[in-house]
């Protein structure tokens, strides 16, 4: 399978924005149950801003790291909230992990996902079981790493990541939240999926579709 180019990464972000747009009602509803009902709206505003910034990039001269750092800034400035700092840090760390590379191979993409997750953990200080987006992202990064070690190709690594994220998000239903707005609800949060974990699945689904199944 050919390496990932700047153009492919931009296509990935277009795909993420479209997927978020399609799911934003559902995400806001999930957030209404245990939060303040703005998660879908926030993610939609953020990724629209990313697409707008990327459309103004000179694709010929920008490298993949520039796509990611541009996305980080655009997302953060459009949104703030909790998602802003977390995803901005994720994209900045991803950019640092692949800095200088003109194209990305399987290893670079897996490194990118691992760096994103470390960034989210460092910034948000959440861990597995806290009922946050980390409960989807961390298993995803671990599954991608495991698939890489087992010699799988990019498409299979991303499939594994998505599958693990879906299971992780589903598992948040039985958790009590220890971060964010839901952390003040105690047991009332149980039975409800975390919206940040749900949107992580949407994002990974778009990544898997756009980067894993290019012709």
């Amino acid at each position: 399978m050919s390496d990932i180019t700047t153009k492919d990464l931009i296509t990935m972000f277009v795909g993420i924005a479209a997927a978020i747009e399609a799911e934003k009602g559902r995400l806001s509803e999930l957030d209404g149950v245990i939060g303040d009902a703005d998660h879908g709206v926030t993610m939609s505003i953020g990724f629209s801003a990313v697409n707008e910034a990327l459309s103004r990039l000179d694709q010929g001269s920008a490298d993949p790291a520039t796509v990611l750092s541009t996305s980080a800034k655009a997302f953060l400035n459009a949104v703030g909230a909790t998602s802003g700092p977390l995803y901005a840090t994720a994209f900045i760390r991803a950019a640092a992990a692949i800095k200088g590379r003109p194209v990305l191979d399987r290893d670079a993409v897996v490194d990118m996902v691992s760096a994103m997750v470390k960034g989210i953990r460092d910034r948000g200080k959440a861990d597995r079981g806290d009922k946050t987006m980390i409960d989807a992202w961390l298993p995803a990064a671990e599954a991608a790493e495991a698939a890489r070690i087992a010699g799988r190709d990019l498409s299979e690594c991303l499939d594994a990541a998505l599958f693990a994220a879906q299971a992780g998000a589903e598992a948040t239903k039985s958790m009590v939240a220890s971060k964010g707005r839901a952390s003040r609800l105690g047991e009332r949060a149980i039975g409800h999926i975390d919206p940040g974990a749900a949107s992580a699945v949407v994002i990974l689904g778009a990544i898997e579709r756009t980067l894993g199944h290019r012709s």
Partner: protein, 335 residues
């Protein structure tokens, strides 16, 4: 069923609101041309004065932007509805109000706000601006007393920002401004009740479900669910429930004084707020607690939510002088 609002395209609702605010209050406020989410007091910031920067999500008006003005906040960073502003406008606020004596960041205790304001403080530090942070944690329902630091900042913000603003305007040093702000926070107690939900401009959907005979006690001001759901009771019974909780915690003795804030969350009427205040007064009188000042109205709303919150600030001489200190803000004045 969609809710009804008087807005245009929801995508631009914050920008349009700010345009309207600037047009209405040109003598009080200015907006940074390169960043419209930065609103600065025309009068207030000056050399050697600690700059007070407040901020948070929109949807709580008059909190935050309405409290920008001489004697209170020097600047506000404006976020999207119910969302913290990003680091950039907060950093710009710090630069705009820096008088060489340091800057105080004050905002509600929420994960998003903490991350964004902390990132802005890091940026300000790179500009050699000393930033201190005081979070508001007045909502007694959101965590027990021994975990006060986990509590949300809600309508009591009004008292806490006012006290801090007074300290800064009196040209106190940053250590003293921070101390006074922390004391004001420690001595403010709030609890609220929601009757019907609010809806985001972008969705026009009620953001939680509640039955026709129910109320949500211990709500959050972002439409997030409270901590318990009960059958709706009379104003006196609801006020008693709130005050029982507050008075159980507030270490007031007979002869002490408080300030009262009875705050509408948006659609609850003055008529109802004053009915509640009657009961607040009765309970305080019965406990021999005096009232220095009472404020009733819209101070910290949650879009169109129906409901109210009651805040008491336990006063001493210093806090009385800070609350009495004159201020002239876009949406609030103490002559």
């Amino acid at each position: 069923m969609k809710t009804k609002k008087l807005i245009n395209d929801p995508k631009y609702v914050i920008e349009e609101m700010l345009e309207g605010i600037m047009a209405a209050h040109p003598d009080h406020l200015r907006q940074l041309p390169r960043n419209p989410r930065v609103v600065v007091a025309r009068h207030g910031p000056r050399r050697d004065k600690v700059g007070l920067v407040i901020g948070g999500g929109s949807g709580h008006e008059p909190t935050f932007v309405g409290f920008v003005g001489k004697g209170l906040a020097d600047a506000a960073a404006i976020g999207n509805v119910f969302a913290s502003p990003p680091p950039d406008p907060i950093h710009e606020c710090a630069k705009a109000v820096d008088g060489g004596a340091g800057v105080l960041f004050m905002y509600g205790n929420y994960a998003g706000d903490i991350m964004n304001f902390d990132m802005a403080a890091e940026l300000a530090a790179m500009d050699n601006i000393e930033v201190r942070t005081v979070l508001t944690t007045d909502d007694v329902a959101s965590a027990p007393r021994d975990r006060r630091g986990d509590r949300r900042g809600v309508a009591g913000n009004f008292f806490i920002f006012k006290a801090a603003g007074g300290a800064c305007d009196k040209m106190w040093a940053i250590d003293e401004c921070e101390r006074a702000a922390r004391k004001a926070n420690d001595q403010t107690y709030t609890m609220g009740v929601a009757l019907t939900p609010c809806s985001l401009p972008q969705t026009l959907k009620p953001n939680f479900d509640i039955g026709p005979d129910e109320m949500e006690i211990g709500l959050g001001i972002h439409g997030e669910p409270g901590v318990a759901r009960e059958p709706l009771k009379s104003a006196d019974a609801v006020t008693d429930e709130i005050l029982d909780r507050i008075l159980a915690e507030m270490p007031a003795s007979r002869g002490d004084k408080v300030a009262i804030l009875v705050n509408s969350l948006g659609s609850t009427s003055l008529m109802e707020l004053y009915v509640m205040n009657r009961r607040v007064r009765q309970r305080l009188d019965a406990n021999g607690i005096g009232v220095h000042k009472t404020w009733v109205g819209h101070y910290c709303t949650s879009l169109e939510m129906a409901g109210a919150s009651i805040s008491l600030m336990l006063l001493d001489e210093e806090l009385i002088s800070l609350l009495d200190h004159p201020c002239d803000c876009a949406m609030f004045r103490v002559p």
